[in-house]
């Protein structure tokens, strides 16, 4: 199993959600982060103070998947997150030793596939 971490633009978050859905990846967690990379920085002014904003808002997805799903998850995030302009973000794949579904205690494969509603 792998833990797939995807960092994308907030504006693209919905496309990523759709793409994950189409890829039948049903379970994931997301959070707001601030990212720094190659993006041009924007200038803002507050009264006399002018600042250059070095970080830009991103949304971070965290998806645990069984090995068979890794590529689908990665390409779903890629496809949903791409605009082609600098700042689209990154995907990181980290090895995952164990997964547990708290409700049932199931482990591993069993844990990462949500119950269908």
């Amino acid at each position: 199993m792998k833990l797939v971490i995807g960092i994308v633009r907030p504006e693209q978050a919905n496309q990523v959600l759709e793409a994950l859905h189409r890829a039948e990846v049903r379970g994931f967690s997301m959070s707001r982060v601030q990212g720094h990379g190659g993006e041009v920085e924007r200038v803002e002014t507050y009264r006399g103070t002018t600042v250059q904003m070095g970080l830009s808002e991103k949304v971070r997805f965290e998806v645990a998947v069984s090995d068979g799903f890794v590529d689908r998850a990665v390409s779903a995030i890629c496809e949903g997150g791409r605009t082609g302009e600098v700042g689209d973000g990154k995907i990181f794949v980290v090895p995952l030793d164990h997964a547990v579904r708290i409700r049932t205690g199931d482990t591993d494969e069993g844990a990462v596939t949500p119950v269908s509603r």
Partner: protein, 428 residues
């Protein structure tokens, strides 16, 4: 201009009325800041609901029961549905009765809203609506008649300038009863349930103080001496309460707290509410100083009890109102108020009249509210389930959240509800 109407008095009463109406949303903001974010809207909505419900009940029967005729216990129905409420001056004043009606309506409204502080974060909204409607008539109108409308307290000589009896003591002791009947929040006493936005609390307190100038200053129904005195005392008394509260905070926790300061503003305004037009500025400042102690003490003590009177309406309104009503009995000064002296100026009987009020009003408010809620509780559940409480009242009772980002919100189009199958997000 009609005979018997003074344009200056009317001008002042119009704005005073608007100020008091504004106090209720301000209270909603104040209360909303004191709860957890998942209950923000529900808490604010209880104040909005109080305006909606109490304004209607007041127009229907409340005003009439409170102000029609001099019956000892309750007024008549001569003004029910606003019959006879028009442009003619309200007797004893130089303002149209329509304005008097509206001014008094705003008092009923905010009193109902105040009680919500005791039951926020758990009481069902529907049950609160029913409670608000009935309480505004069965408790508020009755006590307003006693103290303002010609009832036994007024005719007996009790002095209550701006509502120590029907507003402050009534809300405070009704809040206690409501907290007892509705019961504590599931995590009360086990977990830390903290204010989610102290800025709302401070701003709300500031706006309440602003409105209170209309509340107290308008209770003379004119721009005359008692009004002017009450108005100025509404600046001085809360200021001294603030100073003393700072000191008490320093002694207790070695830090002056902001939530404490906001509370002190309310307590100070409540203290001067009954006494405003009857005591000198000097005594008003002493009242503000002394009156801080019981309220402060009860706030500290209450949280050690099992009574989850959540936003301390009893301490801030009931106790301070009671203290203020009694204070009149000691320091009322005919040379300032033109009406009566207190014990300190040789008139012991005034103190007795005040005593009657602080016995009767809390007792009636507590018992009536207790019974009323028990009856309502027999018909419908008063509170949300533990599961719902955990989810938060905003989502459960109103289907909304106070602070939404929009992430993962799927737009449901009327025609394809359910068809939309994928989450759609637009982060704010």
């Amino acid at each position: 201009m009609n005979a018997g109407i003074d344009t200056g008095d009317t001008a002042w009463m119009l704005i005073a009325t608007a100020l008091v109406l504004m106090m209720t949303p301000a209270l909603g903001l104040f209360y909303a800041g004191l709860v957890r974010s998942k209950n923000t809207l529900n808490t604010f909505m209880m104040s909005i609901a109080a305006i909606a419900v109490a304004a209607v009940t007041w127009a229907a029967v409340g005003y009439s029961l409170a102000f029609d005729g001099g019956g000892d216990l309750i007024g008549g129905l001569g003004n029910a549905f606003m019959q006879g409420v028009d442009f003619a001056p309200r007797e004893g004043t130089a303002i149209p009765e329509l304005v008097f009606f509206a001014f008094q309506a705003t008092f009923c409204i905010i009193t109902v809203a105040l009680i919500s502080g005791a039951v926020v974060e758990r009481m069902r909204f529907g049950a609160f609506l029913v409670f608000a409607a009935l309480w505004s008539v069965l408790v508020y109108a009755v006590l307003a008649h006693w103290a303002f409308g010609g009832g036994w307290l007024l005719s007996g000589g009790t002095l209550d300038f701006a509502g120590g009896v029907p507003v402050e003591m009534a809300s405070g002791f009704s809040a206690l009863a409501a907290a007892v009947v509705v019961g504590a929040r599931k995590d009360y006493g086990r977990q830390a349930l903290l204010p989610h936005n102290a800025v709302y609390v401070l701003l709300g307190a500031g706006l309440l103080w602003f409105g209170w100038f209309g509340f107290n200053g308008g209770s003379g129904f004119s721009t005359g001496n008692n009004s002017v005195l009450a108005f100025t005392n509404t600046l001085l008394c809360p200021a001294t309460t603030l100073v003393v509260w700072f000191a008490l905070d320093l002694i207790r926790g070695r830090k002056v707290t902001a939530i404490g300061a906001a509370t002190a503003i309310i307590v100070g305004c409540v203290l001067i509410t009954p006494a405003g037009g009857y005591i000198s500025p000097g005594w008003a400042m002493l009242l503000g100083a002394l009156g801080a102690f019981p309220s402060y003490g009860i706030i500290v003590w209450r949280t050690r009890t099992r009574v989850d009177e959540t936003l301390d309406v009893l301490a801030a309104h009931g106790t301070a109102g009671l203290f203020g009503v009694l204070f009149i009995g000691f320091f009322a000064q005919a040379s300032w108020n033109g009406v009566s002296d207190g014990l300190f100026y040789g008139n012991a009987s005034q103190l007795l009249d005040q005593f009657l009020a602080v016995l009767a009003a809390p007792a009636y408010a507590f018992v009536a509210t207790f019974v009323l809620l028990k009856l309502i509780g027999a018909v419908m559940p008063l509170r949300a389930s533990d599961r719902e409480e955990a989810m938060g009242m905003d989502v459960v009772q109103h289907g909304e959240e106070a602070y939404v980002t929009g992430e993962g919100a799927i737009l449901l189009l009327p025609d394809d509800v359910g068809k939309v199958a994928v989450p759609v997000a637009d982060p704010g």
